[in-house]
Assembly symmetry: D2
């Protein structure tokens, strides 16, 4: 299963150990109970994820082959609980493959987000000129690199002026719990657009391979909203005179246990 | 700084590297800026914790000397991102020191929480009889242990029937980010009472040693409240006709940035 | 694949991701080269292991189901680079299953090894009496445990006097590099006999599942001998007047590269 | 304590928790014994390191501020058991500082070592021309970068063509055991010259801050020599007719325990 990412990159699932049922199997070891029905398994997985019982999710392991620009690789590698085998520019010649952004992805510095780019699309002349300039530099730098190599200069030295936009490749192996953590951070709107593209490709793969766990991750982690101690006081006031009636609850899909949990939260809020 | 825990245990801070200012210092490396005022430092620490920028908190390291029953040690050691040097029952003789619960801590199995004990205090006859029985067994088992040792049986074998209530000791070293994670899990009401006592002792130490970071941890992590995707839909309905007025906001301590963040959350909720 | 260990324990391979060829595949990513012959793959694996290029071995992942006494579990869990799901005595009742040593494994304290037991077999009366005493205590303690449970005392409290010899179970997932490290330490003669039995069971499984890598591990890690800086000076003197002739080399199986490496080491030694 | 490295880099020790005595303190917890004399402490540290009892060395923690080229940072970050806070090119503008090799460090590809450079010094015309070309590119690329920034292009995009030779900075925190592992790999002659310079700077700092532990590391790890199973068979034949006499041993500094260990190794060898 391979998904193209950016102009020349990809994410390819090489191997997977376990699936939704492996999570259940590991959890039931802790509880000392055997297998149950699909519905009960689904409930269990959702319960585990909702309550941050993370160790059963570590029992699923995924191995990917990924091709990505070095500036993305540098953000990626900050996730330490994973195994990596990267292409080495000391052993082998780097290939003539560079990241070139699409015109609509070239943006100005954001005025509200110190680390990101603006939501406004740039005048196409400006973005074209940026892309042209980037391309030209890449061509020049690769020519220089090849020239150094041809002169006999060591590969490990010849490469030092290659730009961060050059592609590298690696095998990357990680368990599902840590992969969810990676996705939570890298699918976030504050993550750089380019690494978000990779995170979304991985999410596609998970949707297919561990559908129940991935859905639980979306519901309870990726799209969760949390309120700090002081925010809860505000919320408490807002909700002060409001009652939860059954009509309200019947509209939204929560299982029985979740309804109790929700009512508990609201009651707790009202007491703040 | 040493705090007594349970009948014979303790938590003692042996050494600490860094404090609140070390968090700021590390964060400002990322931003490429220098030192600022106390107020700005505090704001930065709270901003970092609120937004899960966890790496600066890893820059503070704490080393503890801890004495704890083995059944607590077994829960504790599940936190893998820490360094441990434990007293060895293969090298040295175990000491005659056992955990004996206080009468009011002896409880029945909880009927609502499969892993915990009830909130109801037991008839003192029942708890006394439990404690007496526990004590007698401990005395017998230690006598047997000493007898084996005196017979010449290897220490590593003599100990195999010692009970999980016997005390052990260790040096435990961990960074502040991972310690907060430990506290989040072990101060939780679902954690076993005995390990919660240790977690609370550590919290006391943190309050003194990294007061700003600890307060932020309390506000944004320990006492935060999560709403899942579906819970947000409910909340959305509840809040449908309610406006946030400035009077409301003035009552609760949120800084300017947090007020914006809160309004954003409520607006987001209303659109669900 | 399940192997019985001790009186009631076992090691069972639940799942494995990858085999010898997965090591090669990962390594060739670094080198940017494709697949080769069996002989070349074998050479590569041995080269990688000999030169501590450990990351390709992390690309193989193994999941085990293990049943083991708690005192063994406590040594085992010190290996932190692994994932664990353990049976919980808070959720479920512990089973009436205890480790009882074989008579010939009951030994006196070693006089030379502070942490181990003697090589000498004990008088059978002494070992029988130890085993009888251990058994009786186990029976009594389990009776007490059941009594507490029946009285309604919480499981998490009832268990605190259960002995370290009681069996627990867990799922344990680890990559091959870290598993080799585990085996290096736990197959060592200084490891406690009981954990060594488990390590040897795992070794049997590896011999079958990753035969080339395991053989390399035996040749270059498990049975390697190392000499410190000062020991090398002694060795240097011992070897001073000795020449390496080809007849000598032809007797022992080293490949061409290894012969060069060996000669280099001896020459280096002679210069000390 | 700051040490200059390469043309613009440095290693600066920001903080250290513990020293040689912290290693001893942690180890004696395991053994259940108190403090002893300097000589006994030294012996203990050397014993621990020689026998790979690594956990006491984890009880010393070091924090560094490091300035290094990105291609070095990419090798460095592969060591995962450490904490990092890096300067962010998304938040702040990169500075106009690049690695430029000294003329004598510009070398051809090694003919024997696929990943390294030759030992032969190049004709100075060739190395000058390489260095000039590298410098010119760096100047051009930085000019382009500044131009993009001035045009308003987001920092996270403007930087994608900056070369791997540009300097970055980070705070890096690691325990002594893992730092020794880092040094073992990065002081090795197969490591790239530039990262070796950093490793050697760190070694200088350790020599001063943990002199006993560092000396033990040099004697037993850094300069140790391994023999594989088959190499031992060869060595066995070489040593066949040779006796170890006391005169020999008196020449070389080994303590009593080490002499026994050495004799054991030689006897073991002779039996192969």
């Amino acid at each position: 299963m391979e998904i193209k990412v950016l102009n020349k990159g990809f994410v390819r699932l090489v191997d997977i150990m376990g699936d939704d049922s492996a999570i259940v199997q590991a959890a039931r070891t802790s509880y000392g109970t055997g297998t149950k029905s699909y519905e009960e398994d689904k409930k269990l997985i959702r319960y585990l994820l909702r309550n941050k019982h993370t160790s059963p999710f570590e029992m699923v392991e995924l191995k990917f082959h990924i091709k990505l620009p070095i500036f993305v690789a540098r953000q990626w590698i900050r996730h330490r609980t994973a195994n990596v085998n990267e292409f080495s520019g000391r052993y082998s010649e780097m290939r003539d493959e560079f990241y070139i952004p699409e015109l609509e992805d070239v943006r100005n510095q954001s005025t509200t987000n110190k680390q990101g780019r603006s939501d406004t699309i740039l005048d196409s002349e400006i973005s074209s000129s940026f892309v042209e300039s980037v391309k030209n530099s890449q061509t020049d730098l690769y020519k220089e690199y090849k020239h150094y190599i041809d002169t006999g200069i060591a590969r490990e030295l010849s490469r030092i002026n290659l730009p961060l936009s050059i592609y590298t490749e690696w095998y990357w192996k990680i368990d599902l719990h840590n992969l969810f953590h990676f996705l939570k951070l890298r699918m976030d709107k504050h993550a750089q657009y380019e690494i978000r593209c990779y995170a979304e490709a991985i999410a596609e793969i998970l949707k297919e391979k561990v559908p129940i766990a991935y859905e639980a991750f979306e519901d309870y982690t990726l799209n969760s909203m949390y309120f700090s101690k002081n925010e809860q006081k505000l919320l408490s006031k807002l909700l002060n005179n409001i009652d939860i009636d059954d009509a309200l609850l019947s509209d939204v899909k929560l299982d029985k246990r979740e309804i109790t949990e929700f009512k508990d939260k609201i009651n707790l809020l009202k007491q703040k």
